[in-house]
C-alpha cells in the first residue's frame, strides 16, 4: 500500500461514514417497561418472551454498575434509544429485497461480494433488526439453520427454548440483563449432528443511529460431531455522542463438535462495547474464540469457555489495539470443570498514544477436574511513553492434579530491531509497523484472509508517524 493510500485512509476511515437511512420506528429514549413492550409488540413475540424481557428489566434495574474495570461514567443509559426498526422489510433472503440506502451501506462494506466468494452464509443487522440472512442451499438441505434470532424463536421454538438464556442467564451481570430485556437481532444457528460447514458463516453488525443501543443476541448450537466457523464484524459511523453495543452470545458445543467464533470489532471510538460471550463445551468437543478489538471507546469483553465434560478443549486468541481515548478491557475465561479438559489463552495487546489495554482473565479449575491443563500467555506492546497496559489474571485452583501456568511480558518496540530494519532500507515508521505486525502474527494468521489484510492495513495506518 502506498503512502498516498495510507494518508487517504487516515483522513476518513472508510467504515466510519454515516448512512442516510430513515428508520420506520424509533423508540423513545431510556429503558422503560413501555419501551420493552413496544419492542415486543413490533416483533410480534409470544407472551413468554415478553415476560422474560420484563423479568430481565427488573434484574437490570436492581444490579449496580460494575465497581471494577474501565470508567463507564460517560455512558448515559437514560438518554439512549433502545430500539430502531430500520425498514419494514424483515430479514430478506436476497440483497435486492433490501431498501436501496441500506443495501448501499453493505455494498460499501463489501459484504455481498464476500458472500459470493468466501462465505457459506451471511447475516446482516442494521441498527436493531436483521435485514438479511442467507445460507448456501446445499447447507440448508443438510438441515443447517442460519436465520435471524427472531425467526429462530418462532420457527424452531423447542430448540430455541431449550438453550436460550441457559448459557448466559439475565442474572449473570448487569449488561447481560440489559441485553435480555432489550435484545433485538442477532443470529440463530443450528448445525445438525455430523454436518461440517467448511466455509464460515458471517454476521455483519452496523449501527447508524446516534445515541443508540444495539443489543443483538446470538444463539449457536453445534450438535454432536458437527463443525462450524462463525464470524461477526461490527462497525458504526463516527458521531460526537456516545452509543452502546451490548451483545450476548450463547454457544453450545455438543460432544465431539468443533466450533470457532471470530469477532472483529471496529466500532467508532464513541461506542461503549460491553459484551458477554460464553460457550458450553461438552465431551471431546473443541471451541475456539478469536477476538479482535480495534475500535470502540471502551470495550469490556471476556469470552468464556466452560469445559463441562471430559476431554473438552478450548483455545482463546485475543488481540487488542488501544489508541488515545480508548480503553480495551478484554480477556478470557476458562472454567475447567471435568477431568482431562484443557485450554489455552493467548492475548496480545498494543497500546499507543494514551491508549490503555487491559487483560482481565480467569482460569478456574474445579475440584475433581483431574489432569486438567491450562496455559495463559499475555504480551503487551507499548508504543509511546504515555501508553498504558494492565494485566489482571485470576487463577483459581481447587484440584491437585491440575497444571496451570501464566506468563506475561510487557515491552516496547526494540530499538535494535528498528535500527536493523533501517539499515535494510526501511523508514523508521515502516520498520515499527513491520515489528508490530510480527508481534500480532500468531493471532493474525488465524484470521480469515480479508480480516488479516484489514488488520495489517489498520496497523500500518496507526503506526504512521508514530516513532522518531
Amino acid at each position: 500500500m502506498s503512502e498516498a493510500d495510507l494518508r487517504a485512509l487516515g483522513e476518513e476511515y472508510k467504515y466510519h461514514f454515516v448512512d442516510e437511512v430513515k428508520p420506520v420506528f424509533v423508540a423513545e429514549r431510556g429503558l422503560t417497561r413501555r419501551v420493552i413492550e413496544a419492542i415486543s409488540y413490533h416483533k410480534g413475540e409470544p407472551e413468554w418472551m415478553l415476560k422474560f424481557r420484563l423479568r430481565a428489566l427488573e434484574i437490570f434495574q436492581k444490579k449496580p454498575m460494575p465497581t471494577w474495570g474501565p470508567d463507564l461514567s460517560g455512558l448515559d443509559l437514560d438518554n439512549l434509544v433502545y430500539y430502531v426498526k430500520p425498514a419494514e422489510v424483515r430479514d430478506a433472503k436476497s440483497w435486492e429485497e433490501i431498501p436501496e440506502e441500506i443495501r448501499r451501506t453493505y455494498e460499501r462494506l463489501g459484504i455481498p461480494e464476500a458472500e459470493r466468494k468466501v462465505l457459506a452464509g451471511v447475516g446482516a443487522q442494521y441498527d436493531s433488526e436483521m435485514v438479511y440472512h442467507r445460507v448456501k442451499e446445499e447447507l440448508e438441505r443438510q438441515g443447517v439453520i442460519f436465520v435471524a434470532i427472531e425467526e429462530g424463536m418462532k420457527k424452531y421454538e423447542d430448540l430455541f427454548k431449550e438453550h436460550f438464556a441457559k448459557v448466559v442467564p439475565p442474572e449473570d451481570n448487569k449488561f447481560a440483563a440489559l441485553n435480555s430485556a432489550a435484545w433485538s437481532g442477532g443470529s440463530f444457528v443450528y448445525i445438525p449432528p455430523g454436518v461440517k460447514v467448511e466455509l464460515p458463516l458471517q454476521a455483519y453488525f452496523r449501527v447508524n443511529t446516534p445515541e443508540f443501543g444495539q443489543f443483538e443476541r446470538t444463539l449457536i448450537i453445534v450438535d454432536e460431531g458437527a463443525e462450524v466457523h462463525y464470524i461477526e464484524g461490527c462497525t458504526a459511523p463516527m458521531y460526537s455522542t456516545e452509543s452502546l453495543h451490548t451483545g450476548v452470545i450463547e454457544i453450545v458445543v455438543k460432544r465431539g463438535a468443533r466450533s470457532r467464533y471470530t469477532t472483529i470489532q471496529n466500532w467508532s471510538t464513541n461506542m461503549y462495547n460491553l459484551v458477554t460471550q460464553r460457550a458450553l463445551v461438552y465431551g471431546d468437543a473443541f471451541h475456539e474464540w478469536l477476538d479482535g478489538n480495534l475500535g470502540s471507546k471502551v470495550t469490556m469483553k471476556y469470552p468464556s469457555s466452560y469445559l463441562l465434560e471430559p476431554g473438552a478443549r478450548t483455545e482463546i486468541l485475543s488481540i487488542a489495539f488501544a489508541k488515545t481515548g480508548q480503553h480495551q478491557d478484554t480477556g478470557a475465561k476458562i472454567i475447567l470443570g471435568a477431568p482431562h479438559t484443557s485450554g489455552t489463552i493467548v492475548s496480545k495487546s498494543i497500546s499507543k498514544g494514551e491508549g490503555r489495554a487491559s487483560y482481565r482473565g480467569l482460569v478456574k479449575v474445579l475440584d475433581g477436574a483431574r489432569g486438567a491443563k491450562a496455559n495463559v500467555e499475555c504480551d503487551a506492546l507499548l508504543i509511546d511513553p504515555e501508553s498504558r497496559t494492565d494485566t489482571y489474571p485470576y487463577i483459581e485452583i481447587e484440584e491437585d492434579t491440575a497444571h496451570v501456568g501464566h506468563e506475561a511480558t510487557v515491552s516496547k518496540i526494540n530499538d535494535e530491531q528498528i535500527f536493523y530494519l533501517q539499515t535494510r532500507g526501511l523508514k523508521e515508521d515502516e520498520a515499527a509497523a513491520l515489528i508490530v505486525r510480527g508481534f500480532i502474527e500468531p493471532i493474525a494468521k488465524e484470521l480469515p484472509l480479508e480480516y488479516a489484510v484489514e488488520l495489517n492495513r489498520l496497523i500500518e495506518l496507526e503506526m504512521e508517524g508514530s516513532v522518531g
Binding site: 503487551a380 504515555e386 494492565d390 489474571p393 496451570v404 501464566h406 510487557v410
Partner: protein, 430 residues
C-alpha cells in the same frame, strides 16, 4: 470487659508515657478503625478469605511493664537463641519488651536498637520523622494496629555504618487477647543492616495478632529484612509492611508463613528514587486448615528502578494459599526492570491455590515480566526417585523441599536458613 475504644487507646499511650503527638495519631487511627467495616468476601482483596471464625473483635492486651532476665525468657525463645546468629536482639512477650541485648560497640557508633516507647524518649526527632509513614490507616487492621499497638522495635542505623551481623526481634504471643506490635527501621545514607523478625507461640485458643513493619531507606542504604512467622495453632496473624526506598537504596526482603491458623502478609516496596532495588521473597507451606494470604506491591515511582519478586509455596491437607501481586509503574518510571513469579505446589485433592499476578504499566521503555504456575509434584521426577529406590512418600517430601529450597537458597542468613529448613522438615512429615 474492655472494648476497642478511646479509653483504651489513652490507657495504652499513658502506660507507655508517650508524647502528645503519638496519642493524637493513635486517636486519628481509632477514628479510621471505627469508621471502616471489617472486610468481607465482597472486597476485592478479601475475596478468597473467610474471616467468619476469626476473633476479630477480641480485646487488645495492655502493657504490663514486665521485664525478664535472660534465664527467665520463655523456652520458645531460649531454644531459638541457641541457634541464631543475631548479634543483638529484643524479646517481646505479650504486650511488653521483656529483654534486650544490644552490643556496646554498635551503640557507641550511634546505632539505636530499642523499643519504640524508649526511642520516643531518647530519639524523638528520628521517630517522629518516620513513624506511621509506611503503615498507618491503609485498612481496618492497619488502623487497629496504629491505634492499639502496645509494643514496637526501633532500629536506627546512622549514615555510612555497615552492620555485618543481623539484628533480631523475637515476639512471643501469649494468647487469649489480641496483640499488636510494630517495627520501625530507619537507615540513613549508605547504612547497611540485616533485621530478622520472628514470631513464635505455643498452640493457642483463637488469638488475633497484628504486626506492622515500616522501613525507611535513605539514599544508598541497604537492608536485609526477614519476617518469619512460626506461630502455633489458633493464631490469626495480620501483617502489613511497607518499605520506602530512596535513590540507590536496596532492600532484600523475605516473608515466611509457616504457622498459625490464618496469616496474611501485605508487602509493599515503594521505589522512590532512581537506582532503587527491591528483592522480595516469599515462602509458605500450609497444612491442616491453614490459610495464607499474600498481597504484594512492587511500586515503581521513579525511573531506573528494579524489583524482583519470587513467592514459592506448597499446600497440603485442606490448606489454602493465595498470592495476589501487583507490579505498578507510574508514568515516567522508564527503564524499569520488574519481575514477579509465583510458584505453587498443590499436594492434596482438598488443598486450594489462588494466584493473581497483576501488572499496571504506565511507561513504555521498560521490562516487566511475570509468571505463575500451580501444579502437583512432577510425576516424572517422582518416578525417577522411585527408580533409585526411594519410597514414593519420601520422594514426594524431597521434591517439596527442593521446591521451597529455591527461595531458601537466595537467603545468605545461614542460621535462619537452617531454622527454616528444620521447620519445613517437620511440616512435610505431619
Amino acid at each position: 470487659m474492655q472494648v476497642l475504644d478511646k479509653t483504651q487507646v489513652e490507657a495504652i499511650s499513658r502506660a507507655l508515657k508517650e508524647p502528645g503527638w503519638v496519642l493524637e495519631k493513635r486517636l486519628k487511627a481509632l477514628e479510621a478503625f471505627a469508621r471502616l467495616p471489617y472486610p468481607s468476601k465482597k472486597d476485592e482483596n478479601w475475596r478468597y478469605t473467610d474471616l467468619s471464625e476469626a476473633p476479630l473483635e477480641q480485646e487488645v492486651e495492655t502493657p504490663k511493664g514486665l521485664s525478664l532476665s535472660r534465664d527467665e525468657l520463655p523456652e520458645l525463645v531460649k531454644r531459638r537463641l541457641e541457634k541464631t546468629d543475631v548479634s543483638g536482639f529484643l524479646v517481646f512477650v505479650g504486650p511488653d519488651l521483656v529483654y534486650a541485648e544490644v552490643p556496646e560497640e554498635l551503640s557507641a557508633k550511634g546505632l539505636v536498637f530499642t523499643s519504640l516507647a524508649e526511642a520516643l524518649k531518647t530519639h524523638p526527632g528520628k521517630v517522629e520523622a518516620t513513624l506511621f509513614r509506611g503503615v498507618y490507616v491503609e485498612d481496618k487492621f492497619a488502623a487497629e494496629n496504629s491505634a492499639f499497638f502496645t509494643h514496637g522495635a526501633f532500629l536506627y542505623v546512622p549514615a555510612g555504618l555497615e552492620v555485618e551481623k543481623p539484628l533480631g526481634v523475637f515476639k512471643v504471643l501469649e494468647g487469649g487477647k489480641a496483640s499488636a506490635g510494630r517495627s520501625l527501621i530507619f537507615l540513613e545514607d549508605n547504612a547497611k543492616a540485616a533485621y530478622i523478625e520472628e514470631y513464635l507461640s505455643l498452640d493457642l485458643p483463637p488469638t488475633l495478632h497484628l504486626s506492622a513493619t515500616e522501613m525507611v531507606l535513605r539514599p544508598g542504604a541497604k537492608l536485609r529484612h526477614a519476617h518469619v512467622q512460626t506461630f502455633g495453632e489458633g493464631v490469626w496473624h495480620f501483617h502489613r509492611q511497607r518499605a520506602l526506598l530512596e535513590r540507590d537504596a536496596a532492600l532484600n526482603d523475605l516473608v515466611v508463613n509457616l504457622g498459625g491458623r490464618y496469616a496474611r502478609s501485605e508487602v509493599a516496596s515503594e521505589l522512590l528514587g532512581p537506582g532503587a532495588e527491591s528483592e522480595m521473597l516469599g515462602l509458605y507451606f500450609g497444612h491442616g486448615l491453614q490459610h495464607f494470604d499474600h498481597y504484594t506491591l512492587q511500586h515503581h515511582v521513579e525511573h531506573h528502578t528494579r524489583s524482583d519478586l519470587l513467592y514459592k509455596g506448597a499446600v497440603k491437607d485442606e490448606a489454602r494459599a493465595v498470592f495476589s501481586g501487583l507490579i505498578k509503574l507510574e508514568r515516567g518510571a522508564q527503564k524499569t526492570d520488574a519481575y514477579q513469579a509465583n510458584r505453587n505446589l498443590i499436594l492434596s485433592p482438598t488443598a486450594r491455590v489462588d494466584s493473581i499476578p497483576q501488572l499496571e504499566i504506565g511507561a513504555n521503555n521498560v521490562r516487566c515480566t511475570h509468571g505463575s504456575t500451580t501444579a502437583p509434584v512432577d510425576e516424572v521426577q517422582l518416578f525417577y526417585l522411585q527408580s533409585r529406590g526411594l519410597p514414593r512418600s519420601l520422594a514426594q517430601e524431597l521434591l517439596v523441599k527442593a521446591h521451597l529450597a529455591d527461595v531458601l537458597n537466595r537467603i545468605p542468613l545461614k542460621a535462619l536458613r537452617a531454622h527454616l529448613e528444620a521447620v519445613i522438615e517437620e511440616k512435610v512429615r505431619i
